[in-house]
Amino acid sequence: PKPLTWALSGNPDSLDPQKTAGTLTFQTVRSLYDTLVEPDAKGQIVGALAERWQTSADNLTWTFTLRKGVKFHNGDALTSADVRASFERIKNKEFASPKASEYAAITSIETPDPSTVVFKLAKPFSPLLAALASGWGAILPKSLIDSGHDFSSKPVGTGPFVFKEWVRDNRIVLAKNPDYWLKGLPKFDSLIFQIIPERAVQVQGLIAGQIDGSDIIDQEDVPMLEASGKVNIDRPLTAQIFVLAMNCSKPPLNDLRVRQAVNHAIDKQAVLDVAYGGGKPVGTFMNYGNAYYRDFTSLYPYDPAKARSLLAQAGVGKDTVLEMVLPANYPPHVKAGEMYQEMLSKVGLNVQIKLVDWPTWLKDVYTAAKYDFTAIAHTGKLDPDGTLSGYGTEKRYVRWINATAADYIAKGAGAVGEENRKKLYDQAMMIMAREVPFVFTGTSYRRVVTNKRVKGFRMDPILDTYDFRHTELQ
């Protein structure tokens, strides 16, 4: 039968999950590698390559029991040595993984027997489980690690699909792994990731039936796709939080009243609808699906008059020129930026847009904080620490300093148990929602469009990765 062709908006920079931070990579390699644990459809972390695990009373020793009979694509059987080699690889300073510090808490890895792995920690660190469930926690075969195999272009894992070929900037071809440890899965033979940067082409491909699915469809395209009658459109909320970030270290945005004015000036729903294709305002720095979410949306309603008076109080007039730096390679953020600018100008803030490419944005905005405003999205994290750590200190690009909030956040990482942690994070989020280093515009809907022949496609709600294991073709 015809293979399943999935549209990918760009070329992954590498297929080595430990060597990159690229979303496209993790979306793709989800089908090639497995992790010890993984999030289920609700975001709960469940066993994967590890059947079960337990933590010691002091929370310093984590013991994982591996599933039996799991085989790598090269035929090697999965053992605890592979797990150990994988994590030693990512922690290796010379290997320089961008995700190395997620495992910094691990001091040693022991393998008492082939199916048991023991992680020893220096201090309690609750986010570890999330780090093991994320894409970069993939388990690679020790034999190939030792031989210096090039995983970035020839990935070998335990995943549901086996790598066939990668024609860069064109397509990645995978074939069903007949020995997959979930018996009977996957349910189809061949999977192709077709790289198509033009959204309009993806849409036409979907209508023509040449593409079976895509998750980056614009709201404007929906009527046409619906009219074609060939596709199903699923509209889940994403875990992304769209923000208008403000540089709190520079006048006039260091003045709380100005930040509040900005919050009142923005019609968040309008921005979500027009720029991001629909969504829901959040009012905080946590996504809806997350257990730690709390509703702060009523704090700063759309109120241009109030915005104007706050600005007047702060003494900010038209002569203050503020710079909004936008990442040119993300058209939705550019569009949102144009809307923010127009809304801010209506309340009397003079904002100039400057487009920069991604590396410049990372350097000037994200690292050096040379900006006044920027529009961006924060991706969802399996653990609240991933979202919040560093805020309240000068480490984060908004340069919002609040020792109390920072303290709550730091404590949250060490605390054990969801209830305990939630209390701490609630406090931190409340301070943030009041002091608004961001305009928390909201989270958007995603439009996952699949051909009607595709059934059972799942996208991880938080990690944004594709899960084709249960997918069927009719």
Binding site: S14, A96, K99, N170, P197, G205, D357, P359, L362, K363
Partner: protein, 278 residues
């Protein structure tokens, strides 16, 4: 220096300062710029462009992987533009100020006025979406190259057409044409045997230069048609601040361009006996 730090790009937004420092150490951007540059120069001399920072693959391999497609695209585009430009240009010149000439010149003006990326999108919309004659995406077969090559070729054809016409008009006004007529040759022989050969000579040179431009023009067209060519690679390198890739790409394209010009010079001297060296 180019703004942006490749280590930041590789590290992504959630990386810590330690992670970034480790990456810098791995890719070598922690060293002073002059040292990096000297190192790069030394390797280039040995035809080693290093490895791409983002993908870790050797730059040379990446370039050669893509070059075939871009070259075929450029060659096919050139073929199309020659096939369009030469006959129309010659007919325009021979029947100057006739209906056909106006038509040809109109086409040429239109071809120059429409940006090739725009033409590409329209072609895609018309011949892949509305009338699905050609594939929407993908690559690997000739069918995938036809539309992009047409988009690329038409804009260039416009230039070549004008040139062919001007050159033929000039040749037809030269004295040796009168000699040919005075010999009693038929008009066809006069125009197509005598004038044509000389008229096409400057076209050869310009076509060669145009081929070089097509390599560059392919960047945008590859973007429109999702083709995995050199242009996309280069653009990606620029976007990602993948310095070895940018540098390798620049050197390679300059080299390819010079090579093409060199070959064209040779071809020109083969065709033009006047500058053949004895």
């Amino acid at each position: 220096m180019v703004p942006g730090d490749p280590a930041l790009v590789i590290a992504g937004v959630d990386a810590t300062a330690e992670d970034i420092a480790a990456i810098r150490a791995r890719i070598g951007t922690d060293r002073p710029l002059p040292a990096q540059y000297l190192d790069w120069l030394w390797r280039v001399v040995r035809f080693d462009f290093g490895t791409s920072l983002t993908s870790g693959q050797p730059v040379t391999a990446l370039i050669f992987e893509r070059f075939g497609l871009t070259l075929s695209l450029a060659l096919l585009g050139m073929l199309i533009s020659l096939v369009v430009a030469l006959p129309i240009g010659v007919v325009s010149a021979v029947r100057r100020w006739s209906f056909w000439d106006y038509l040809g010149m109109g086409f040429s003006q239109a071809g120059m006025a429409v940006p090739s990326f725009w033409l590409g999108i329209l072609l895609l919309l018309a011949l892949a979406v509305k009338i699905p004659l050609f594939p929407l995406f993908g690559s690997g077969s000739l069918r995938h190259l036809v539309l992009p090559a047409v988009a690329l070729g038409i804009a260039r054809a416009a230039v070549l057409l004008r040139l062919t016409r001007a050159s033929m008009v000039e040749e037809l006004s030269k004295e040796y044409v009168i000699t040919a007529r005075a010999k009693g040759l038929t008009e066809r022989m006069v125009k197509y045997k005598h004038a044509l050969r000389n008229g096409l000579l400057p076209v050869v040179t310009i076509a060669g230069i145009q081929l070089g431009y097509m390599l560059g023009g392919a960047i945008i067209i590859e973007q429109v048609f999702s083709l995995p060519g050199l242009g996309r690679l280069f653009l990606f390198g620029v976007y990602q601040r993948d310095f070895p890739l940018i540098q390798g790409g620049v050197v390679f394209v300059a080299f390819a361009f010079s090579l093409i010009n060199f070959l064209v010079d040779i071809l020109y001297s083969v065709l033009n006996p006047r500058i053949r060296v004895g």
